[in-house]
Amino acid sequence: MKNLFKKFGIHSILIFTSLLSIFPFIWLISTSLKGNTENIFAYPPTIIPSEFTLSNYIGVWHKVDFVAYFMNSMIVAGATVFLNLLLSALAAYPLARMEFAGKKFSFFAVLATIMIPFQAIMLPVYLITLKLNMVDSVNNFMGYLGLILPFAVNAFGIFLMRQAFLTIPKEMEEAAIVDGCNIVQMFFKVLLPMVKPSLAVLAIFTFIGSWGEFLWPSIVLTKESMYTLPVGVNNLQGMFSSNWRFIAAGSILSTVPIVVFFLFMQKYFISGENEGAVKG
């Protein structure tokens, strides 16, 4: 009896928290489905629209180029993930396995970047990006470069991959050398496949981070056609000043891709295997 009571208590708290977690989205979805004649400020509020309609979605879809925002986000997040995997793994390997002059220095230099928050150095980063012509006013490609390169590698990724390389038995490398591999073949054909789980974790968390990034793109972007989803969604507020039906519909539309991604990749997020991916 006591156990049943306890179980009931735990489940009520968890259900309550789950509802709190999704309620802001539910309310946004509800508003987005309400037609023009329904008062969205009605007291008492209604969750289920009395006059259900998709017209807000159709309206906002025609006025806002979500496909372009989505493609921009895909290009930026995709390239950021690729570069992070490649550069982190490349840099991590010698730090884990090789002996060379300046190893300690390199290690602490990477560690030092953990302590430098992007928000504190964004102004010079912007000035440098301008100087390198990596802005969308030059051309789209340079615009993408400017969005991607400042986040092409970071200390968390390097340390995550270093931990992964440290767990590979040295005999693997020896065997590869005996088999006649050179260092490049060994790295790409033998070692990288062995650290796939860490690469997957790094890829997924880099993707989520890049996909949701707002501060940097809102600083560097000047052309609307280059907007990523977060910048585009923020822009909805200005476009439809008080048309909350449209703002809600646009926000929900922009969120669908990442939610689908999350549901497909959920085991990486909720299995507890991502301990190494903790970011500051």
Partner: protein
Amino acid sequence: MHQYYKKYVPYLFLLPAAVVLMVFFFIPFFQTIVLSFQDYNTSIYNPTWVGLDNYFKLFKSPIFYKVLWNTFLYLFLAVPILAIIPLILAIFLNNKIRCLNLYKILIYLPVIVSIVVAAIAFKWLYAQQGILNYFVELFGYEPIGWLTDTNFALISVVIVTIWKGIGYYMMIYLAGLMGVPKELYEACDIDGASGIKKHLTVTIPHIMPTIALVSTISAISAMKVFAEIYVMTKGGPLNSSKTIVYYIYERAFENLDLGYASAMAVILLIIVMIFSLINIMCFERNKYQI
């Protein structure tokens, strides 16, 4: 093992990452410090060297203290809650209960959604005639200006940060809880300890390092908060929700006061460095051992 690589190979492996970190971390880091000693107000192209003037201006400015106060208030409101609530949830979810994964997915959902969408969703909840004020009025109070009242704006924004962070820290705790030896709980059961006592004597002491880790990580991210404020309040009303990063952004990119903004950035650098050092030296030592 014999030397299977040429002497220059390690440097080749490090080179691409080194270039990126050099151009986008180290040079900007030093440039921030240099900029903080310069004045760009008279001309954006011909800065003048002004020594510590920007810092003196900063320390004389009431807004600076207001912004610093707001940022630390943000931290003191968010960090304790983000250290405790996710822990309680993680303890509940560390059992074999029904719908375990469903709970985890729903509570984690705010983490993966863009902060901009989260901020817009809350802005809508906070609307003057919005759903939250409906409940406020239901309880017989005057509607609250969640984002327009100087007493509420900062708290309203902190709520978004907390709401979005709970799932993230909960997963860190769940990983930490997996490391608590199961035998200790069994020993407790034999002793007849109650559920709460069990957690106080076994769970909490064992995951103290994780609690400390969560506290420092959430403190660091509280220092860096930006998007919530940009989308919801723009620092207003009357600077009541302006935090340090938002103020840097405003000064640098809207007022083009590069020197002053950089002096503030240096202050931010110092604060975050202290937190990061505590984190690295005390809680994540093993991860960063050479």
